[in-house]
Symmetry: C2
Subunit: 308 residues, 2 copies
């Protein structure tokens, strides 16, 4: 694996409650889930900030997955980002119990010199003004995709978001965010209107129902892999993005076949993610498990030729 993917986002500690139990101080954050997922396909290079509570064991977990954390700075003035959430019975609705930004509130991404020439970049869900600033620090990457959320779409920072959308190649959002960004009754018109905002490649994630890709004039659909038990959905979206970008970086091109394969990798990795609390399933995954699930996925979805 010679290709790298840069991820700029949050590193956090999460307290999570689901119908299957509760866990405290789980290593989380968008950049963490993204990196661990992407690292199965390419080398992930993380840009983020942690506080003085960040555990050596968690640093080791990242580095043993070949995640380059030279861009992860330690701000000793406070604790790491901490988030607490509770999932309800259907696993789709969740209540945020608290959000303590801590050192993440003052996060100013500084791209290390050794990252500036990277070709594949993911701008995690942070202030769009910071996403713009990261773009300025990079030396003309081949493919930059971004994530965002309702807070930036509906709030006063929208003007920065519109600017950064004009400059990126890809957008990876969920159904709800897509509909906040623009309108469109059918999923097809929604996708095209998102492309009109700037990115040539748009992915609309639909949770357990899979995800849709709009890549230039092409469209591709990947179903969600049906899992036996959803234990904890935290990080599934970032894990999808990590699998997607990791596979694109691995292939090193932007062909439709690469994008299709990347959609499958994203869906498969997300399906593993939800099968355990935090990173417990994702971080212990073998290549054989990934390959087997890809093969199973094909059996689940490939239709024989019809007799018409």
């Amino acid at each position: 694996m010679s290709n790298n993917v840069v991820i700029v986002g949050s590193v956090a500690y999460d307290d999570v409650e689901t119908p299957h139990g509760a866990r405290k101080d789980l290593l989380g954050g968008s950049a963490t889930y993204f990196s661990i997922s992407a690292s199965r396909f390419a080398n992930a290079r993380l840009v983020g900030v942690v506080g003085n509570d960040f555990a050596d064991a968690d640093r080791s977990l990242l580095t043993t997955h070949n995640v380059d954390i030279s861009g992860m700075v330690t701000d000793t003035s406070g604790d790491s980002f901490r988030w607490g959430g509770r999932y309800h019975d259907n696993m789709n609705d969740r209540t945020t119990l608290y959000t303590h930004l801590n050192v993440f509130e003052r996060f100013q991404p500084a791209i290390p010199d050794s990252y500036r020439n990277e070709q594949f970049v993911f701008l995690g869900n942070i202030d769009p003004a910071l996403q713009l600033d990261v773009l300025e620090q990079m030396d003309g990457p081949q493919f930059v995709a971004l994530d965002t959320m309702n807070f930036w779409i509906e709030g006063p920072r929208r003007t920065y978001l519109d600017q950064v959308l004009k400059r990126v190649d890809g957008l990876i959002v969920n159904d709800e965010e897509a509909r906040l960004l623009t309108d469109g009754r059918s999923i097809l018109s929604l996708g095209r209107r998102l492309q009109d905002l700037g990115p040539r490649t748009v992915i609309v994630k639909r949770g357990e129902h899979g995800a849709l890709l709009f890549h230039g004039d092409d469209i591709f659909f990947v179903p969600g892999y049906p899992v036996e038990q959803v234990i904890d959905p935290t990080g599934a979206g970032d894990t999808f993005a990590g699998g997607f970008m990791g596979y694109v970086a691995r292939c090193g091109d932007l062909t439709l076949d690469t994008m299709k394969g990347a959609m499958l990798c994203g869906s498969i990795m997300a399906s593993f993610c939800v099968e355990g609390f935090g990173l417990e399933r994702l971080s212990k995954l073998s290549v054989t498990e990934i390959k087997n699930r890809c093969a199973r996925f094909e059996a689940l979805t490939r239709c024989p030729s019809l007799t018409l």
Copy 2:
């Protein structure tokens, strides 16, 4: 096409309002949508009742699609079943404006002698006691599937529904009906519990998100075909069932490949159905249009082998 499929269900006139307009006196009902859809793959033989308001033109529409209506009786004591509904902006929520059962309230399905030896039967959404009665009138068909609804699942007729479920081979329901019939957190456990109620073959329809098949120990997933514009969703579920059963009857066996192809036919036919009011799109469909959409569907969903 030598194979036939028998459908027992409603024939109705619908008044429909959607964000795209309003139409009155549309030919509708579960047996109608089912028949027109199934008739693309096999000969449909309809069992139902209409009133003295039933138009000759609508009789002709059915017979020109090779739907055998010798089992559709005319009850001159009243009007046909009439339903009025309004769809809201998202096209998923609808308000029933009225339901006039009229002659359908006294419907007692009588299977014509010429239908009794048929091998493929669909029991549309009617009183489960009547579904049981239809089974008694058939001479050991190869594959019987049924549809039902919340009214029968939650009401006092549930005991009849449980009896008929034990005797049928297939169940075709939507997500919500599936969750009313049994529980199961994941879609996989839901499917298995539905199979425990009796049918070896279970299909859970998920609207625009497609449908899942449980066939013995096998599972298969078909996404919803993304349409440009949903004009009127009325009848999409019955159209899915018609495409599914029509293709099974055409193949004449219950192999997994037949079931997979049937899922695709159901999904494709439902996608055409919603593109027009009532039957306007479905009833004017060419074989070429169906084949083209199947090919397009494959391009939308077939993933190349991964480079892992």
